[in-house]
């Protein structure tokens, strides 16, 4: 099939034009029709009324001379032509005989008239050599058709009237059509303009230029589409930026331990290590950095899995407090080492529908952070409580150095670190909170941070409670 080569603009304009032309021609047809019909009907009614009124003066018997004079007088006064037909020939009285004469009143008309009905005639009448609108009123004496009052007006006079109307209507209609077509063209251009711009911008975007924006002029569907397009362009631009940033981060994060590993291993290989002890220390460093890289890769993989939802969660109803307790137990050695006081307050009645391993990961990552940033002899609170019948909160509060207020909104972004210097003193991958955030959101929960610099940090995770 050949593809349609018309543009949308052309199509819409074509439809509008067709609509306009059809409407105008149809309305003119209707106008003409109704005008004719109403006017002709009116004329017919008038003629019939006049004719019947005239016929009411006939009282049977042969048509009298007085009556004929009366009709003739009326004919002179009336705008319509009024005739008294009483010639039997014209009345088709000789019908059964084939007399080859075009009677004024046909056999069919005669039959109707004999029944006392009136006859209306619209069209060309040979006898008058013109188109007429006429009515016939029978003058009946019993079943005897004594005559007919024939009233007619030339149809030309009616058509002249319609002609007058046409004289006014036609130029107006033409003007109307042109104005509408012109306006339609403008309108179509107005509609399709933003579409064309969008096309151009999309093309630009495909070339990697995400800066272009479509001007939004209206608030209709097209305007909203433009807006949505702009939002989309912005989102793509942001996503693109995030991707670059992410790549930069990943490479940066990987490069640091790699450079350690490379540097120390080179030192060992080149024999710069003097003592056995020094060598052990170097290998330990290499081992530590390798471990960091492993964690980084694992976290990245985790995050990718969570974001891509490639490994679905194994959700089962579970006692959340138990998960928290089991995790917290693992941290006892670290807590004791840093002399951190852990205060746990858990509501054991709370049951969640969740993936136990993933939830454990949440608690673990949060506790990792808390332990990491809490100074020696600090304290950590873990609290699990019901907020209402459908949701609960896990609050982990530490007495660490906290986060500056302006940086709180960025917590949970990949590779976001509060200390931009990216020192690895605290040793995280920068992905822990991002993973937590992802798991929480997969459990239909939310995560929020409350912190001020120097005043510790509070992480609140709100999750829905399992209801049967």
């Amino acid at each position: 099939m050949r593809q349609n080569t018309l543009t949308l603009e052309q199509k819409i304009w074509l439809v509008i034009s067709l609509g306009v032309i059809l409407t105008v021609s149809f309305s003119s047809f209707l106008l003409d029709y109704f005008y004719q019909k109403l006017y002709v009907d009116k004329v017919e009614q008038t003629l019939l009324q006049e004719g019947k009124s005239l016929a009411s003066d006939y009282h049977g018997g042969a048509v009298s001379e007085t009556f004929r004079k009366q009709i003739e007088w009326y004919d002179k006064k009336s705008t319509a032509k009024v005739m008294l037909v009483n010639n039997p020939r014209e009345l088709s009285a000789c019908l059964p005989f084939d007399i080859n004469y075009q009677s004024l009143i046909s056999g069919k008309d005669r039959a109707k008239l004999l029944n006392g009905e009136t006859v209306t005639k619209i069209g060309y009448e040979k006898r008058f050599h013109r188109k007429i609108m006429g009515v016939m009123i029978p003058l009946l004496d019993g079943r005897r058709l004594q005559g007919v009052i024939y009233l007619y007006i030339p149809l030309a006079s009616i058509q002249e009237l319609t002609k007058d109307v046409a004289m006014i209507w036609l130029p107006l209609a033409v003007l109307f059509v042109f104005v509408l077509l012109f306006a339609g063209k403008r309108f179509v251009r107005h509609i399709t303009g933003p579409l064309k711009e969008m096309e151009e911008v999309a093309y630009h975007m495909s070339q990697g230029n995400y800066e272009a924006q479509i001007p939004v002029r209206t608030n209709d569907e097209i305007g909203r589409l433009a807006k949505a397009f702009n939002v989309m362009a912005k989102a793509i631009a942001e996503e693109d930026m995030r991707k670059r940033e992410f790549l930069a981060n990943v490479s940066h994060e990987l490069r640091t331990p790699l450079s350690y590993v490379k540097g120390y291993s080179e030192a060992v290989l080149q024999g710069l290590v003097k003592t056995k002890e020094e060598e052990r220390k170097y290998v330990q460093l290499i081992h530590r950095e390798a471990g960091r890289m492993e964690r980084l890769v694992r976290d990245l993989l985790d995050l990718a899995q969570l974001e891509g939802n490639s490994v679905p969660l194994q959700k089962t109803p579970l006692v959340f407090a138990q998960v928290i307790e089991d995790t917290a137990v693992k941290y006892e050695p670290f807590l004791q080492k840093k002399q951190i006081a852990l205060h746990v307050e858990l509501d054991h009645d709370i049951i969640l529908e969740g993936d136990a391993d993933r939830l454990e990961q949440v608690v673990q990552n949060l506790l990792d952070n808390a332990v990491r940033y809490t100074p020696t002899a600090g304290k950590i609170d873990i609290q699990l409580r019901k907020v209402n019948a459908t949701s609960c909160q896990l609050i982990i509060r530490d007495s660490g150095k906290g986060v500056p207020k302006e940086k709180v909104p960025f917590l949970g972004q990949r590779f976001f670190r509060v200390d931009q210097a990216r020192t690895r003193k605290e040793g995280g991958t920068g992905l822990g909170l991002a993973i937590v955030k992802q798991i929480v959101s997969l459990h239909d929960g939310t995560m929020s941070f409350f912190s001020e610099e120097g005043k510790g940090m509070e992480v609140v995770i709100q999750l829905p409670i399992y209801t049967e």
């Binding site: 005989f97 004469y101 005897r144």
Partner: protein, 324 residues
């Protein structure tokens, strides 16, 4: 199977029915039977001419234009110019007796008073065709376009043919089967009365064009010379002569005129609506009122309407079948 058999049976019945000759109701015996040929509903109605009792109605359903009674006074011959044959029925039994394959164009039929001859006026062959009563064609005499009116003398030796279109009348000697004299008549002349004793031929008509005939033209029956005209407006088309006088029916004015035997106008009366046919019998005149579908019975002496009988639509010809 059963249905098929039933269908075949019905089909067979139809075929048998179709093959059988049409039969109409028998007309009860009466001394005088008035026959009305109605062209608009294509029927023939029979009345007791004395009482007016309707005896029978035949729905012929063929475009018949007129009829004639054979000499046996019981065989009715039906014709029409669009029919390709003439049909003969026995009115006593209602059964079809004969069909004569004449071809289309028969516009009038006259049964000879003397001898075995039926004159059929043929507007296609432009001739008077002579048939024997057994249907055998016995001769043909060429005349004008549309020989609509046929009259005969008492002896049955002369036939007067008045043409409707070509303004001519013909006198035919039946024995010799040829036209012996032609003379001019007005256009659309129709209807006539032959007064043999007076040697007069009265001819009516419609008038041509938009002029209407108001006169009866009286010609010499032997020479065809126009003797005089008599006023009888409007459109005199039917004639009858009885012992009471001469009657003429003008359909344009629905007027019945009466003259005495000497030709003096006695009276006139308006009767019927657009009447075309009249016959006189029993001192009465029977008039077919075409537009009102009635037969008017007028007393020939007083010229008063004494009865009106409803007949079929468009009565166009009347016949009197007198008992044997």
């Amino acid at each position: 199977m059963r249905k098929a058999r039933l269908f075949l049976l019905i089909l067979g019945l139809f075929l048998v029915y179709g093959c059988e000759k049409t039969t109409f109701p028998a007309v009860p015996k009466r001394p005088q039977i008035l026959v009305s040929v109605n062209v608009n509903d294509e029927s023939v109605a029979f009345f007791d001419a004395k009482t007016g009792a309707a005896l029978a109605e035949w729905k012929v359903k063929k475009p018949i234009q007129g009829a004639a009674l054979l000499r046996d006074r019981r065989t009715l011959l039906l014709y029409g110019n669009e029919l390709d044959r003439v049909y003969l029925y026995d009115i006593k039994t209602g059964k079809a007796t004969q069909e004569w394959q004449t071809g289309k164009g028969i516009v009038h039929a006259l049964v000879s008073d003397k001898g075995d001859a039926v004159f059929l006026a043929d507007e296609r062959q432009n001739a008077i065709r002579i048939f024997k009563e057994n249907g055998q064609e016995a001769g043909k005499i060429a005349v004008g376009d549309k020989p609509l009116t046929l009259l005969q003398n008492d002896a049955g030796t002369l036939l007067y043919v008045i043409d409707f279109r070509n303004k001519k009348a013909y006198i035919i000697q039946v024995g010799k089967r040829r036209v012996v004299r032609t003379f001019s008549v007005p256009k659309f002349a129709v209807g006539g009365l032959l007064r043999e004793k007076e040697g007069e031929l009265w001819i009516g008509g419609h008038g041509s064009g938009n002029t209407v005939e108001t006169n009866i033209h009286i010609y010499s029956a032997s020479t065809g010379a126009l003797g005089k005209t008599v006023k009888a407006p409007v459109m005199p088309v039917a004639f009858a002569e009885t012992e009471e006088g001469i009657y003429v029916l003008s359909h344009g004015s629905s007027t019945l005129w009466k003259w005495d035997a000497s030709g003096k106008l006695e009276s006139s009366v308006i009767v019927g609506a657009n009447p075309f046919a009249m016959i006189g019998a029993n001192e009465r005149l029977y008039i077919a009122s075409y537009d009102s579908n009635e037969i008017y019975v007028v007393d020939g002496r007083t010229m008063k309407v004494i009865d009106r009988w409803k007949t079929g639509k468009g009565p166009f010809q009347l016949l009197m079948a007198e008992g044997e």
